[in-house]
Amino acid sequence: METRNVKNTIWVVGTILVIVLLSIVAIMLGRYQLTFQEIWSAFTRTGEISDMADNVIFNIRLPRVLIALLAGAGLATAGGAFQAVFSNPLAAPDTLGVATGASFGAVLGILFGLPSLLIQSSALAFGLLAVGLVYFVGRTKGGASPVMLILSGIVISSLFSALVSLVKYSADPQDVLPAITFWLMGSLSSVTRETLYTGAPFLLVGILLIFLLRWKLNALTLPQEEAQSLGIPVNQIRAVVILGASMITAAAVSMCGLIGWVGLLIPHIARMLFGNNNKYVIPASIGFGAIFLLVIDTVARCVSASEIPVSILTAIIGAPFFILLLRRTGGFRL
């Protein structure tokens, strides 16, 4: 136990250090280059700093870095939670149609030319509406069984994806359609401080809920009756975890569009390193997810003159990395 605790502490401290370091680097990089000196004086409020630099740091880079960290941590946590709740390694944050619902909300907002704050709220609302519908459809006597939930998730998800297609079909192909398409590929290019303020509370609450219940997630992967016989209120805990994961997913989609892969990839990386115990998988997913999306987003905005959609990069960078890890660790524990 002792050595395990020491090892855990090293991992936690190390991950936090890496996050801080990478965040500083990410704030420095970009079309307007900043030095470490400028960032230091901006945060400590000492020394000379130009208004321009101050503006770039606090209104553009910092919100963006924070959103990348939060969304990455959140999506990875939601993925890990859904995988446990449905005791299925293939589940992802969009399994219950939350992401598709939120996309529809956002796309609808873009079609009507709403201001960005309303687009975001509409995405959040439709994402949560989607999971509500899924729960309503999948509910049977004595709670909702995982299989019924997944089935109704597929149904609701394809319903909303048809609605997204309908919006795309009726959108003006000159300017609205490209905006929708770009948004659907996921991007943090349009985030502001307001985006952060609207989305972050949902993300933080969702992550906190799942973090607190993380050990109980282990029992949820057992067959329903077995978990009940351990003295766990299975239906209630499952509902709370699904609610938390849905809040995270809807908020993440509302802030930065559809970002694939993180929710599937990161929890499995955590499992390969630490085993299936969710007591470790969830904290590791939070840390690795944050790092992963921060790196991806920084690459997305720095590598070329125009931004590359994040979803393209998550797959292009994520897939080889995942394969490498799969080879090195001999797969996750089966």
Binding site: A84, L213, N218, P223, L230, G231
Partner: protein
């Protein structure tokens, strides 16, 4: 501790009764074996008496109190359930699996601490698999996994163990280990046990009481030696049965033998006749 089922009956919505008027009682240090053909309702009975399924009539009582009125955590602290061994889709180490049994002693947001892990070590030693604590459940044998599940039921300090076919799918030696462990727990620790089994010999050997489920949903409960007789077994399993005793110096052992069934052939012929 007393656990009692009074006039239990169960049917799935709109179907025929699977269980009808089942009654039995177990006390400290007593073992009750439940026998019956496939589909006779052994597992259903187990789920009903534990409140995992709702009785359509009758009720189960723990220390005289209706189980439905008890708080779930309080009930599962008294009762340890050992399901049929099946690996979950995410595999844990033996220790991680066993510590889940402490859930009934922990709040919803708390995690197992020092005391809980001590209990895990203790129970792993009790069932003799302490050396496997850090192994993955998928890397140990079926017999060892069964012992891990028994340990998981034991860590909540129950006074009643309920086991669903604990010795099925195991070889002779592992069957022996499982049976001896259950017997030992009852004799030495005063635990009561209810187990489903497909082996009448096991029931006669280790249990004090037996419950026989018949295909029509009725049942017979009583002393193991009285209930497990040729007539009763033939009625329950629909095959000719002979029981013989082997006199060994230390103890008398009971053998149950099934004979080639003429009943089955006759039924097939009858079916053909009906078609013609």
């Amino acid at each position: 501790m007393t656990f009692e089922v009074k006039n239990g009956g169960f049917r799935y919505h709109g179907e025929r009764e699977i269980l009808r008027d089942v009654s039995f009682q177990v006390k400290d240090a007593e073992i009750l074996s439940v026998l019956g053909a496939n589909g006779a309702g052994k597992t259903t009975l187990m789920k009903c008496m534990l409140g995992l399924l709702r009785w359509t009539s009758g009720a189960s009582f723990l220390n005289g109190k209706d189980v439905r009125t008890l708080k779930s955590k309080a009930f599962w602290r008294e009762v340890g359930y050992v399901p049929q061994a099946k690996l979950p889709s995410f595999v844990y180490t033996v220790g991680e699996m066993v510590v889940m049994g402490r859930s009934s002693h922990l709040g919803e947001l708390s995690q197992p601490g020092e005391k809980d892990w001590q209990k895990v070590d203790e129970c792993l030693k009790t069932v003799g698999i302490f050396h496997l604590k850090d192994k993955l459940c998928s890397r140990i044998s079926g017999g060892e996994y069964q012992m891990a599940l028994i340990a998981r039921a034991l860590v909540s300090d129950p006074s009643l163990l309920v086991l669903d076919e604990p010795e099925s799918n195991l070889d002779f030696k592992n069957q022996r280990i499982v049976l001896d462990t259950i017997s030992w727990l009852c004799k030495e620790k005063g635990l009561a046990a209810i187990l489903n089994t497909h082996y009448p010999e096991h029931a006669v050997e280790i249990s004090h009481k037996a419950l026989l489920l018949f295909p029509d949903g009725t049942s017979l409960a009583g002393d193991a030696k009285d209930v497990i007789g040729e007539k009763n077994l033939e009625k329950a399993f629909d095959v000719p049965v002979r029981i013989c005793t082997i006199d060994l110096p230390e103890k008398k052992y009971t053998c149950v033998l099934t004979l080639p069934s003429s009943v089955q052939h006759k039924k097939t012929e009858e079916l053909y006749e009906q078609h013609e």
